[in-house]
Chain length 336, copies 2
C-alpha cells in the first residue's frame, strides 16, 4: 500500500469493471495498479484510453492475469466478469495464487456454499493455502437483500421471518437492463426467452436467502425460486426501448422463499418494470420486536454495486484468509 | 462453551442486567454461568430468585466479581451497571483480568476514544495483555444512531453528510424513562435539573458521531452537543407520570453535530416526548447516491439494548483482543 493507498488490479474492464475503474480513480484510498481483460479491442491499450477518460493511466490492459499481477505489485483485485461461479473459478484462482485478496461482483459467489458446494470448498482451500481472501458482493446479492436485512435483525431478541422487497422502476435504468427484464416483448416472446434462458430474472435470490439463513444460524427445509413472471402494460407505456402496447411486457417480478420448520421464513420479491410509481427497498422482520424498514427511492443498482465492491476491499484485506461472505467481514461502510 | 452453549456471567443484575439475564434464559445459544451485583438485597441469593422467575437457576449472585469468575468457567461477560466509563473501568478490568470477553451496555464505552482517551488506551492495553475483547453496545449508542448509519453508507461512492433522527413517544416507555426526560416538570424545574445534572438528555450522541466519523475515516473539526431542550405541552397531555398541563414539560429533544471542513457533516436529533404521533428511526445520507432510510415505528429501546448486548457476544468472542467498537466487529445480527 504505497503512500497509504490500496493498490488494486481491475479484472474485467467491461461495463461494470469500467465503472469500478472510473470510480476507483475518484477515491483517495485506492490506486489502480493493473488491468486484465480478454477483449481484443482492449488488450494492450492503456487503461485510461480503454476507459475513454481522456488521459493515460500508465497501466496497460493485459490479456494474461498472471502477467498483470507480476507487474502490478498490487494489494487486491476487483473482479467483474460474470455472474456464474463455474466460469469465473479459474480467474479467481489465478488471483489467489498470486496471493491477492479478491472482491468480485460474481453474483453466485456472494453465498456460493449451497449452489456450488464443491467449488466453494475448493476455493476456500485454495484461498487459505495462498493466505488470501475471496468474497463476492454487490448491491444485490451482497447488500440490499441479505447483508442489510441481517444487520436489521441485530436489535431483535427473536426472529420468526424476514421478507425483503426490491421495487425498481426499470425505465430509469440503462437499456441493457430494460432488455434483460423483457421490456417490449409479447408474453409469448417472454416465455420463450425464459425457456431458452435468455431471460433469467435476477441472479442471486437463492444466495441472499442462504446468506440470511446463515447469518441467523437457521437450517432451512428448502429454498424455492420461481421462474420470473412478466409484468404487462395496462396502457401505452413509454420506455427507452419501445412504446409498450397494453398486454405486452414492461418488466418482471421474481419471487423466492426459504422454508423453516414448514413455514415460509425468508422471502424475497424482486420487482423491476416500467411505470413503478414508488421505488423502494424494504425489509420486514417478524419477531421481537418487529422491524419495518424502508429505503425510500431505493438504491440505484449500478452505482450501488460499484460502491459495494470498492468499499468491501479494505474489509476483505483485513479479513482472515479463505472464502468469505459479507456477514463474515467487519461492518461494511463507505471508504473515502 | 459446554454443549455448544456460550457460558455468560451477568455483571449487574439491576433493571437492564435483569432483563438481559431473563432474555439469555430464552436463547438456545447461551447459558448463564454466574452473576455479579453489589446490591445487598441480591447478594448471596440464587439468580432465579433475584430475578423473580419462579425457579432457581443454581447460580448465586456474588458481590465479588473475581470470586464469581473463578467459579463460573465462563466464556464471556455481559456487563450492565452504569453509563459512565470512569465508574465502570475497574469492573471491566476485573473481567479482562479473568480472561473474559466483555460486552457492556456502558454508553460511554460504545466509542470511548474521544471522551476518555487515556482510559481507552489503558483498557485497550489491558485487554490485549489479557487476550480478551471489550466492546460497548446497546440500541443507542451502539446501533440505531451509529452502526446502522455506517452500514447504510456502504452502497455510497461518496458521502457528504449523515443525519440521524430518533423520534420516540416517551409515553410508551417505562416510568423511569418518562421521568428521565422531564415529564410533568415546569420549565423552571426542568432547567434546574439540567443545571444540577439530574436530567442529562441522552448519553451517547457524541459517541455516535465519533463512531460514524471513524467508520467513514473522517477527521472532524469539532463535535458540539447542545443541552437538552424541553418540549412543552400545548394542551392537557395524559401520561403515566402525570396529566401534564399546557406549558409544562412532556419530554425533551437533544441535538448534536460534528463539523468537517467547516460544514455540519454528521448530525443527531434525539426526540423523546409524550404525544409523538409517529415514532421512527431515520437516517438521511447526502452523497452519491443519497440514502433515505426509515424504520417505521422505531425500535423499542430496552428490548433493543438487551438484544444488541446478547447478539454481540458471539461477535466479541470471535474478535481479536483489545478495546473494540461495533464497526470493528463482524456484521451484527440476531443470535438464536
Amino acid at each position: 500500500m504505497a503512500g497509504g493507498k490500496i493498490r488494486v488490479v481491475v479484472y474485467g474492464c467491461g461495463v461494470m469493471g469500467g465503472r469500478i475503474a472510473r470510480a476507483l480513480l475518484d477515491k483517495k484510498s485506492f490506486e489502480i495498479a493493473g488491468a486484465v481483460d480478454v477483449d481484443p479491442k482492449l488488450v494492450g491499450r492503456d487503461l485510461g484510453e480503454a476507459l475513454e477518460i481522456g488521459k493515460k493511466l500508465g497501466v496497460s490492459v493485459e490479456k494474461d492475469a498472471a502477467a498483470a499481477f507480476s507487474k502490478a505489485k498490487a494489494d487486491a483485485v476487483v473482479h467483474a466478469t460474470s455472474s456464474h461461479l463455474k466460469s469465473v473459478f479459474p480467474q479467481l484462482a489465478s488471483c489467489l495464487e498470486a496471493g491477492l485478496d479478491v472482491v468480485s461482483t460474481c453474483e453466485e459467489l456472494s453465498f456460493p456454499w449451497k449452489r456450488h458446494p464443491d467449488l466453494s470448498r475448493d476455493l476456500d482451500a485454495l484461498a487459505r493455502k495462498c493466505d488470501a481472501t475471496v468474497v463476492g458482493t454487490g448491491i444485490n446479492p451482497g447488500y440490499l437483500m441479505d447483508t442489510l436485512p441481517a444487520v436489521l435483525t441485530a436489535p431483535c431478541l427473536r426472529v420468526e421471518s424476514v421478507h425483503v422487497t426490491r421495487m425498481m422502476n426499470s425505465a430509469k435504468r440503462r437499456i441493457p437492463f430494460q432488455e434483460k427484464v423483457g421490456t417490449g416483448l409479447t408474453p409469448a416472446q417472454f416465455q420463450e426467452k425464459i425457456r431458452t434462458g435468455a431471460i433469467t430474472g435476477h441472479v442471486g435470490l437463492q444466495e441472499s436467502i442462504h446468506m440470511i439463513a446463515a447469518a441467523l444460524d437457521w437450517t432451512l427445509d428448502d429454498v424455492t425460486e420461481f421462474p420470473p413472471e412478466a409484468v404487462l402494460a395496462d396502457r401505452d407505456v413509454q420506455t427507452a426501448v419501445a412504446v409498450v402496447k397494453p398486454g405486452n411486457v414492461i418488466g418482471l417480478k421474481s419471487l423466492a422463499h426459504g422454508k423453516r420448520a414448514g413455514k415460509k421464513a425468508i422471502s424475497m420479491e424482486f420487482v423491476a418494470h416500467a411505470g413503478v410509481a414508488e421505488e423502494y427497498d424494504e425489509v420486514l422482520i417478524k419477531g421481537e420486536p418487529d422491524i419495518r424498514q424502508r429505503i425510500l427511492g431505493g438504491v440505484h443498482g449500478d452505482v450501488g454495486t460499484v460502491a459495494m465492491t470498492i468499499n468491501t476491499l479494505p474489509r476483505a484485506i483485513a479479513a482472515a484468509p479463505g472464502l468469505k461472505t459479507m456477514i463474515d467481514l467487519a461492518v461494511p461502510r463507505a471508504v473515502p
